[in-house]
């Protein structure tokens, strides 16, 4: 199936729901790794919006990416509760371990605030991380 057909399929699956844009954007990013200009234009056409409106939504939310990044991603929580449990001290070692190979991003709270420092890789969560554990996690990502 061509990219255009897949995109049309995603849009068709959600169009007709109330407020279909966010579900479409999530599905497009899951399928293609990002929501690029062409996808924005196609979604805008299907939903009878301007591309500016769709782009405004894509650029508003932290989750949406406008270009794909094939690297594995490790999200490290650096919110208050994890900081209180020592998350900041792990950052230099985590950055060194990630280098250019792993995309180390900041997440603000995973809802595991009593057992931090915490990280997320895909849908897997990791708690009570120390430097060794986090470096190992990044190495395996």
């Amino acid at each position: 199936m061509s990219r255009a057909q897949r995109l049309a399929g995603i849009i068709a699956a959600h169009n007709g729901r109330e407020g279909p844009l966010l579900p479409i954007l999530h599905a497009v990013q899951a399928a293609f790794g990002c929501i690029d200009r062409e996808a924005e234009a196609e979604i805008a056409r299907a939903l009878n919006l301007s591309r500016a409106e769709v782009h405004g939504v894509v650029s508003f939310y932290h989750d949406f990416r406008q270009s794909a990044d094939p690297r594995p991603e490790v999200q490290l929580c650096r919110a208050e509760a994890c900081q209180a449990r020592g998350a900041e001290a792990l950052v230099p070692a985590a950055e060194a371990a990630a280098g250019e190979r792993v995309r180390l991003t900041v997440v603000h709270c995973l809802g595991l605030c009593s057992v931090g420092p915490n990280a997320r890789v895909g849908d897997d969560l990791f708690a009570r991380l120390d430097e060794v554990g986090l470096v190992r996690l990044i190495g395996a990502a």
Binding site: F60, D63, E80, A84, S114, L125
Partner: protein
């Protein structure tokens, strides 16, 4: 065969519960995956015949089995229900925590599930609203608005198309009660929403969950499918956020549900009058909605109203987080003091160092000095102390915390998460970070025609502008952590 109960919520999984569960299964046990008791320092917590062991690793499994050998003594906490952390609580919203399999309709019914909904449906919408008003229930998301009054407005609105929206965008650091309920007792939330729909005559409901909670999303979708016939004709759908903290603000959340940028709307009109797609909308937090099945059950409203103090009635699920020895979920009647929560129940810091501060109510909540730990958990008492209860999260910091750094973090967070609609928040937060940086740099700050004293005055002035001039709580409350840090720990700004 030995039956072993192990939680399967996101926190237990993050602590390695799946591997422990597999090890017990391989050892020939029957493993039941249940909700979490909320004693997080003990997760993965293993329960066999009411006795608990925790925190358990795979290597501990042979020590615990067979139970008669009594080898895992160092991990054994005795009967879980009698543990002081549990025994001291008054669990109404979390009454099933640790006790039921989250997706089991049999477990839910056997523990009183759907009784509130069935009874509500025998009452008129006006009677339901009167009971909720009588219970004294106020919005548990943070603002503390009386739930019954909000519903009254929705019920009276003329538009026949109405919505129930659950705000499950639990973004505050230090909070996890919504997550625990969605993952551990999803039918209670669904029942609460169905009761709300009956009270305000809504046909459709949405649960807006943050994308950081994939397990909660999956659990809710499964629960909605399994219980669709029970709550029909009311229909429910989960919608997933996209990483914007501000979408926890109700009007921003509604915009996001509609597929727009998550910008805050000016009020009025209130969402109760013109909310989702311009229709009257009852929008409530997970904890508010999940309190309803109890309130609508026979005698529930009176029991709820009897608990608590002053105008804060009922129970509040409090979340003990951060640098605390015994962190987890503690539901109790309003009125408990911070001192009891932090020391008696939480056991002080996890690091064993002295407590320096607690932040209550998320990243926009005030930092509270141990000198003021006699403050009772009560909406009005906190407001009077320039603090907020918010969603009930308490984050403990030990004496290694640098409070000027924490103040900067609040402004930086506000700058990063501002929706951009109003100037005090969008510009103010950026200027706040710059000012705090100058103050922190002290004599190393680039020389401009402004003294340190003037910088401090300017920071207070900026905070006042943000507090009174912002459209929503993001810019409006960001000054709380900043000013409280400045007032109570001035030495950290020196």
């Amino acid at each position: 065969m030995t039956t072993v109960r192990i939680a399967d919520d996101a926190l237990a999984l993050a602590c390695g519960a799946d591997a422990v569960a597999s090890a017990f299964a391989q050892a020939g046990c029957m493993v039941e995956r249940v909700s979490s008791w909320g004693m997080h320092w003990l997760e993965p917590l293993v329960e066999i015949d009411g006795i608990g062991w925790g925190p358990v690793s795979v290597a501990d499994v042979p020590k615990i089995l067979p139970v008669s050998r009594n080898d895992g003594e160092d991990l054994c906490i005795g009967p879980i229900a009698a543990h002081p952390f549990i025994a001291r609580q008054q669990r109404l919203t979390f009454k099933r925590a640790g006790k039921t399999r989250p997706l089991s309709l049999d477990d839910y019914e056997a523990t009183g599930g759907w009784a509130g909904l069935h009874r509500a449906r025998t009452l008129s919408p006006a009677q339901v609203i009167a009971e909720v008003t009588g219970s004294g229930l106020r919005g548990r998301g943070g603002a503390g608005f009386p739930t019954g009054r909000k519903w009254q407005t929705v019920a009276e609105a003329a538009n026949p198309r109405k919505y129930v929206v659950c705000n499950a965008d639990e973004g505050d650091s230090g909070t996890f009660a919504d997550r625990m309920l969605m993952e551990g007792d999803p039918y209670a939330l669904i029942e609460g929403m169905a009761i709300t729909a009956h009270a305000v005559s809504a046909q459709q409901g949405y649960i807006y969950v943050r994308s950081e909670y994939p397990h909660a999303v999956a659990r809710l979708e499964a629960a909605i499918a399994l219980s669709a016939a029970i709550v029909a004709p009311f229909r429910l759908e989960v919608r997933v956020g996209a990483g914007a903290y501000v979408c926890g603000e109700e009007t921003s959340l509604l915009n996001s549900l509609e597929g727009r940028r998550g910008e805050v709307r000016a009020k009025p009109p209130l969402p109760a009058v013109a909310g989702l797609f311009g229709c009257p909308t009852a929008i409530n937090n997970v904890l508010t909605l999940t309190a309803l099945p109890h309130i609508l059950a026979e005698g529930g409203a009176e029991e709820y109203a009897r608990l608590g103090i002053d105008r804060s009635r009922g129970t509040k699920p409090i979340q003990l987080a951060g640098n605390i020895r015994c962190g987890g979920l503690f539901e109790t009647a309003f009125g408990i003091t911070l001192r009891e929560l932090v020391y008696d129940i939480g056991g002080g810091t996890a690091t064993g160092r002295p407590v320096k501060a607690v932040q209550v109510g998320g990243p926009l909540g005030a930092y509270i000095h141990p000198d003021r730990f006699d403050l009772p958990f009560d909406y009005e008492a906190f407001t009077a102390a320039d603090a907020l209860i918010g969603h009930g999260g308490i984050v403990v910091f030990d004496d290694s915390a640098d409070m000027s750094r924490q103040a900067r973090l609040a402004m930086q967070f506000c700058a990063a998460e501002s929706c951009g609609k109003c100037t005090p928040c969008r510009i103010g937060a950026v200027r706040g970070v710059e000012l705090i940086d100058r103050i922190r740099a002290g004599e190393d700050a680039p020389a401009i025609a402004r003294s340190r004293r003037e910088d401090l005055v300017l920071l207070e002035d900026l905070c006042e502008t943000m507090r009174s001039g912002s459209l929503c709580a993001l810019g409006g409350f960001a000054p709380f952590p900043v000013l409280s840090a400045l007032r109570h720990w001035p030495e950290d700004f020196a």
